[in-house]
Symmetry: C2
Subunit: 187 residues, 2 copies
């Protein structure tokens, strides 16, 4: 599903808006391990994953690589701490598979907001989705042990278990990969 089809599936837009967005969007086929965003940079694009998989992560004080979340097909991803506020980001965003990514720049999006207010609504709806995901993960991590965290991902994101390395899953769940491997072995 391309980005226009996806948007239409939950909030139909006028033809004019679709034309405008289509004209401004850029679609790219990117290889595995391509960096869409680097720490320290102001993120200038919001990405839509048409095909493939991305993850966003940061480097913590100990130099460890912590996966904050994944973006599967039909997800919007950006450096949420940077794109809107125009501040340097703490996040990296990278593809984990060969991916087809559509994106739009901050300026183009802002321009579209002004011209077509319905895009404000669209953006609001997408933000709500993202906020929900993030809160879900919060609940899953806080005061849940390693076993329960693993169950969270098997229930909510079983597809990821097939596609993502153990190390990335572990850091997403806030546990070490050794611990995750042992949990998996028990079943």
């Amino acid at each position: 599903m391309n980005v226009i089809e996806y948007i239409n599936s939950f909030m139909p837009l006028s033809d004019e808006t679709v034309d405008e967005l289509s004209a401004k969007a850029r679609t790219q086929d990117l290889p595995k391990n391509f960096l869409l965003q680097k720490e320290g940079e102001i993120c200038n694009r919001t990405f839509y994953v048409e095909k493939g998989l991305v993850r966003w992560y940061y480097i913590n004080r100990d130099g460890k690589n912590i996966t904050d979340s994944f973006g599967v097909e039909n997800s919007f991803v950006t450096a949420f701490d940077s794109f809107f506020q125009r501040r340097p980001s703490r996040y990296f965003i990278e593809t984990l598979e060969d991916s087809t990514i559509t994106s739009i720049t901050y300026d183009d999006l802002e321009e579209t907001f002004e011209k077509f207010p319905e895009v404000q609504k669209l953006s609001r709806l997408i933000l709500i989705q993202i906020l929900e995901q993030v809160l879900d993960k919060n609940v899953a991590l806080q005061f849940h042990n390693a076993q329960e965290r693993y169950e969270f991902i098997t229930e909510k994101h079983p597809d990821l278990l097939q596609r993502v390395s153990l190390g990335h899953i572990a850091s997403f769940l806030g546990i070490t990969q050794e611990t995750l491997s042992r949990i998996r072995a028990k079943k």
Copy 2:
């Protein structure tokens, strides 16, 4: 600062929009420990904290009371898993101090969205703020030990330490109150 003044401070609205919102908003003085929202109910209002303090929390599998976050003066709070999607919430929201709370219902807000599109933008900006807070907390919790979590709150929300009980702070940070008490004693 009342809600209109606060909104005006970061996104000035037209007089018509202000009038509409003012007409639809309800302001209440509520005592400490008043429940604004109960688990299992569809949250029908978004709240603005003009004065006082609220927390939102949920009950986990073990029956423990987990503080997800606080809303200080000039914050918007709602059951984010419920208000927008019209689904039963897992959250409770309660006042922790005598508070002045302004709120608007879902239907009134939706109506205002339709009449005055600039409110869509306002809502989007508020959602971005909230998303940032939540992500910040994610980063603070994931792979940080109890000491570091405590530092997060002393740096980002020092005011809360004076106003909120140790137990609530501890559950917000994902640690037990005994552990938090010991950390505090060391300094």
